[in-house]
Symmetry: C2
Subunit: 159 residues, 2 copies
Amino acid sequence: MKGMYNDDQAFDLMLKDRDSLVYEFHELGVPEKPGNLAFGTSIVYPGKVGNEYYMTKGHFHTILDTSEVYYCIGGKGYMLMESPEGDCDIQEFTPGKAVYVPGRYAHRSINTGNEPLITFYVFRADAGHDYGTIESNGFRKIVAEQDEKPVVVNNPKWQ
Amino acid sequence: MKGMYNDDQAFDLMLKDRDSLVYEFHELGVPEKPGNLAFGTSIVYPGKVGNEYYMTKGHFHTILDTSEVYYCIGGKGYMLMESPEGDCDIQEFTPGKAVYVPGRYAHRSINTGNEPLITFYVFRADAGHDYGTIESNGFRKIVAEQDEKPVVVNNPKWQ
């Protein structure tokens, strides 16, 4: 996740902390065929790097126009989404709420609460993951804490 | 659901009961494109028709080799599955458990508990529903109560 947060110094400090696990996911493999669905559980831990909340790296699908469905099991936060053309959307995660990520949208889960953000996700098994575009460019928006509340602001690192 | 249970007389009796809603589902529409995913919530109420537990009608997908993922939100029961060749499988639903319905398998949710069986489901939006095959032939197996426990038995009505 190096370079993915706005505050590199805070990220380096986090790495020195032995409790610095930001997120993990658990998935049973299925063959990557268009008729199959991959599914699993994503856990984003609570925390911040500087004033930016813990989040997943985020990705496009390699088959760009394939969607993904998330169901929030626990915790609270946001799904940040962005199309290649720069259309942005953000949806709230609360327990029992489903979030639909339309095809073509990069997506990243962000934990703005004090508990683990746990979501159940499903996507077409052959969709594939493109992490490189986000690694290079970032998202146009970030979710940061201001006055003890999450706010969506422009990403100063976006290129 | 007429004719779908083994005990037609018990079914007719149930229809006279004003609380005879067996199941319902709630879904937001999405365009039926192969890159999209349809999702929603299914509720099977507790109850029996004769000794057979309340269940959904069950269906194949019109695009046969497309899978479906279920996540159990509440209640308990089973997912009964059957391929056109007669391979049968059954998986238990308990809260927090995901069930994978492989492509080519007809599937039916069955509530064997005392609370509503609530599941969150996701399938490829263009998969389509074939209810007719099950309406004509039934499933090879049914789940019925024996000695106050659910058991899987051959369906005497299967053809």
